[in-house]
């Protein structure tokens, strides 16, 4: 049985169908989970896709954190379930304190929409299990608030525990230590600004995101297997 990925939809989310399409094109099942529902159903992984949850009012991700579904996502993550936040989803995960740090306005104050090169820094996360260490991936970014910041102690901890999942080869937004994505201590919650689902078909210009989504499906599948 192929794994079931829950794709969370907040008011203002706009990448949920792209993620669903990419997951299904790789042989997984994906179903949308409305933010107002307090249960996730029998999912094997959760993706918080990109967009502008709750209009990005107050701060990106600040209000999404209080959506009923987030209690279920937090519980799923606490039980070791794979959770991936892409772009706005990453911002939601930091606001929900499921990942450390915060994302603020790009250093150049420009909305960035371009394909960037990433370097995979660790392969022991739910999003990079099928990658090779040091692998270069070309994946699109599309954000105004992607400038990762955290305090020096947190940065030291992220480095020591190898929790920086992907770095920008050529830092586009001023992120601290070129960080494009991080994971939690359990390595089952990953957030990243680039959009793997937008690099999942040759027609989109790159298929480099496929290996990440395959990794997620493998992590989800490991939970399906008895």
């Amino acid at each position: 049985m192929s794994p079931l990925v829950g794709v969370v939809q907040f008011p203002g989310t706009n990448c949920e169908l792209d993620v669903q399409w990419a997951i299904e094109s790789l042989g997984g099942h994906a179903e949308l989970c409305w933010h107002g529902d307090s249960a996730l159903g029998a999912v094997d992984a959760v993706v918080l896709p990109g967009g502008f949850a709750h209009g990005d009012y107050l701060r990106t991700g600040a209000l999404a954190r209080f959506s009923p579904v987030m209690a279920a996502v937090t519980e799923f993550a606490a039980g070791g379930g794979p959770v991936v936040g892409i772009c706005n989803g990453f911002q939601v995960l930091t606001e929900a304190r499921l990942l450390p740090g915060a994302l603020q306005k790009n250093a150049g104050l420009k909305f960035l929409c371009e394909t960037v090169e990433l370097r995979v820094e660790t392969t022991t996360t739910v999003l990079t299990g099928e990658c090779t260490a040091g692998q270069r991936l070309r994946v699109p970014i599309n954000h105004f608030e992607g400038n990762y910041v955290c305090d020096p102690d947190t940065l030291a901890q992220l480095r020591a525990e190898e929790r920086v999942v992907v770095r920008y080869v050529d830092n586009p937004n001023g992120s601290l230590d070129d960080i494009a994505g991080v994971c939690n201590a359990g390595r089952n919650v990953v957030g990243l600004m680039p959009h793997p689902e937008r690099a999942s078909d040759a027609l989109l210009g790159s298929t480099d995101g496929v290996v990440m989504l395959r990794s997620l499906l493998a992590a989800a599948g490991a939970r399906v297997a008895p």
Binding site: L58, R59, A62, F66, T94, E95, P100, G101, A102, Q104, K105, N106, A107, G108, L109, N147, V149, C150, D151, G174
Partner: protein, 88 residues
């Protein structure tokens, strides 16, 4: 219970870059203001709370700041409380 007006000023924590402030700082000299320094851009949130006294109002608004109005990872906040004049 008394109505208190709360004025919450949210700004970047020291050491956290403020790209918007930096950009405005670079723009001001173009208008001839060459003596400007340390431009910071934050936000102001105003709200009214009913509370037993000013201290209780402050405590509650500070709790709101910790939980929602500010992100303590990157932002600091300053709360000013004043008694709202009753409508006459």
């Amino acid at each position: 219970m008394t109505a208190y007006a709360a004025h919450v000023e949210v700004s970047h924590r020291p050491g956290i870059a403020d790209p918007a402030g930096a950009t405005v700082e670079r723009a001001l000299p173009a208008l001839g203001y060459t003596n400007v320094d340390r431009v910071h851009i934050g936000k102001v949130i105003r709200l009214v709370v009913d509370a037993a006294d000013a201290a209780a109002a402050r405590a509650q608004v500070e709790e709101m700041c910790e939980h929602l109005l500010a992100n303590p990872v990157i932002e600091s906040y300053e709360v000013t409380i004043s008694e709202l004049e009753p409508a006459s």
